[in-house]
């Protein structure tokens, strides 16, 4: 049996009549960067809140490090760092003091404070009150807070929200570096491009349901381009070049320049009128949108 670092079974959260999360089965392996993708309001934050015990599930189970979250919450949370939605901080305290408050409870060496500030490049404002920070700086402080106790699992909910492009790149590099050190990272976003550039596995949630969960390469495989050939005779065209028929177009997925030339020559020889030969680029984005759309119309 495959063991997962985070696993949820039938995780469900019901608010009165509205189901925020329905039967979500997350399966996250150790060392992965798990991209948790979904439109705003799809249930990402609700799921993450349940992973951290901030909210009780209506039904279902959360298992982290092979332990039931409900029973071993404290042991589990000792090894989990998180940044949920907006960064949390005490505005009247400085960056260093904000970390010190957490350090006292987490019981880690004092030197760790400057280490994490260095990691998120906030050392120059260590003694400034956080209320004067820009959103990007607050976000980076949030990540520093999450890293303070060297967690095995890092949960980052929309960590690049409100960051400028430079900041986004910086955070992305930091996340990659942390993953290289063996930390398992769950990162949520509503932007596919964001997840695509960083995740090793992807989970897509829409309307509270997990509609896709696989490696990023498997998702890329879905995104293969195809060649569409429209002629006056669909059936005969298919007999000659193979592929699949969709309406009045024959699609084939394996082709190169040489083959395309051969196909056309064969069709012309068979006296078939070729109207269009088009390459259809099926982007990851299109697949994502299609999945979301299908989920929403169900």
């Amino acid at each position: 049996m495959m063991t997962y670092i985070v696993q949820t079974t039938n995780l469900t959260k019901q608010f009165d009549k509205y189901a925020a999360v329905t039967n979500v089965d997350l399966k996250i392996k150790e060392g992965e960067i798990y991209g948790f993708l979904g439109p705003n309001g799809a249930g990402k934050s609700t799921t993450i809140r349940m992973l951290l015990g901030l909210m009780k599930p209506t039904r279902g189970q959360v298992t982290i490090f092979n332990q039931d979250l409900h029973k071993h919450r404290q042991t589990i949370l000792r090894q989990v760092g998180s940044l949920v939605e907006n960064p949390s901080y005490y505005p009247h305290l400085t960056a260093k003091e904000n970390l010190e408050v957490l350090r006292m409870v987490l019981d880690v060496p004092k030197a760790r404070i400057m280490e994490v500030l260095e990691m998120v490049r906030l050392t120059h404002v260590a003694n400034k009150k956080v209320k004067g920070f820009s959103l990007g700086m607050k976000q980076r402080l949030g990540i520093a807070q999450a890293l303070l106790h060297q967690p095995r699992l890092l949960i980052l909910d929309e960590p690049t929200n409100g960051l400028d492009p430079e900041g986004i790149i910086e955070i992305r590099q930091l996340i990659k570096k942390l993953a290289e050190q063996g930390i398992t990272i769950i990162i949520s976003s509503h932007l596919l491009s964001e997840i695509d550039q960083i995740a090793t596995t992807i989970g897509i949630i829409a309307k509270g349901k997990l509609i896709y969960q696989d490696s990023i390469s498997a998702m890329h495989a879905l995104a293969k381009n195809r060649l569409g050939i429209r002629t006056n005779d669909v059936n005969q065209t298919q007999q000659i070049i193979g592929g699949e028929v969709e309406g009045d177009v024959v699609y084939c997925t394996k082709y190169n320049n040489r083959q395309v030339a051969t196909y056309i020559a064969q069709l012309v020889t068979a006296n078939i009128d070729v109207y269009r030969v088009e390459e259809e680029k099926h982007s990851l984005e299109a697949i994502f949108l299609q999945m979301i759309e299908e989920a929403e119309h169900k």
């Binding site: 015990g53 404290q74 000792r78 960064p87 408050v101 409870v105 987490l106 009150k129």
Partner: protein
């Protein structure tokens, strides 16, 4: 763990001018006591006793409960501001520990206020040149008794301050419960059962100056202890269920 949490809570109060808040109640009381023109006409009475009479009333009935509420609000305010509850709740501690540590810190701060009040009384009497020895035992009794009597208020205030983001709402609740004490103490029937009036009873010095505390132990246990436990249990239960 609770000890660490209390220390962390105290650390969070940095830059909050908490000392000013601790000292304001006793100082206002001193002002009122000193300004009271009747103070001078009490010559025939025990001087300390008449001082207690004038100062304990506004202090125990008004300032002590109100300031207790303010402290509870402050201790929750910074959690409401920018996701503090969320962060605190993802630490490897239980919600009960979080709640109780806040409660204990408030209680400790109120104890400091009580001690400052004791000091203020001592200074007031000394400055006035009272020729009778400072009644340590009596003062000690009403300081501790008054302190214990604030516990139900602390529990209810913490509950309210945790529940409502708005400082104004939590503070209004505090005022709404505090003001009727003025009526309650005049009622022999309801007074002894009104939790907000308990600090007044606990700090009311009668001439005999006898007993462990100034109120019967049964009343202390039943009214103060009972309402404290009810508010505490309800507060913890609410906090544990709360989706953050």
């Amino acid at each position: 763990m609770i000890g660490t949490l209390i220390k962390a809570e105290w650390y969070k109060l940095k830059h909050h001018h908490i000392y000013a808040i601790l000292i304001i109640g006793p100082l206002l009381t001193l002002l009122i006591g000193m300004l009271n023109p009747m103070m001078g006409d009490m010559g025939a009475y025990h001087p300390w006793l008449s001082l207690f009479l004038f100062m304990n009333l506004p202090y125990a009935l008004l300032f002590l409960p109100l300031i207790t509420g303010v402290i509870a609000c402050i201790i929750c305010r910074y959690e409401h501001q920018a996701g503090g509850w969320k962060q605190w709740a993802t630490l490897p501690v239980t919600r009960t520990q979080i709640y109780v540590s806040k409660l204990i810190l408030i209680a400790l701060l109120v104890l400091i206020i009580q001690m400052i009040y004791g000091l203020v009384i001592f200074i007031a009497g000394t400055v006035k040149g009272f020729d009778v020895v400072f009644p340590y035992w009596t003062v000690g009794k009403f300081i501790i008794g008054g302190w214990l009597a604030t516990f139900p208020m602390i529990a209810l205030q913490l509950w309210a301050a945790m529940h409502w983001r708005s400082f104004a709402v939590a503070f209004t609740i505090n005022v709404v419960f505090t003001l009727p004490s003025i009526l309650a103490i005049n009622s022999e029937r309801f007074g002894p059962f009104y939790p907000w009036a308990q600090p007044f009873f606990a700090m009311y010095v009668d001439e005999s100056m006898s007993g462990m505390l100034f109120i019967p132990i049964s009343q202390m246990l039943l009214v103060t202890g009972g309402s404290f436990i009810v508010f505490l249990v309800l507060g913890i239960a609410t906090f544990k269920q709360k989706a953050i």
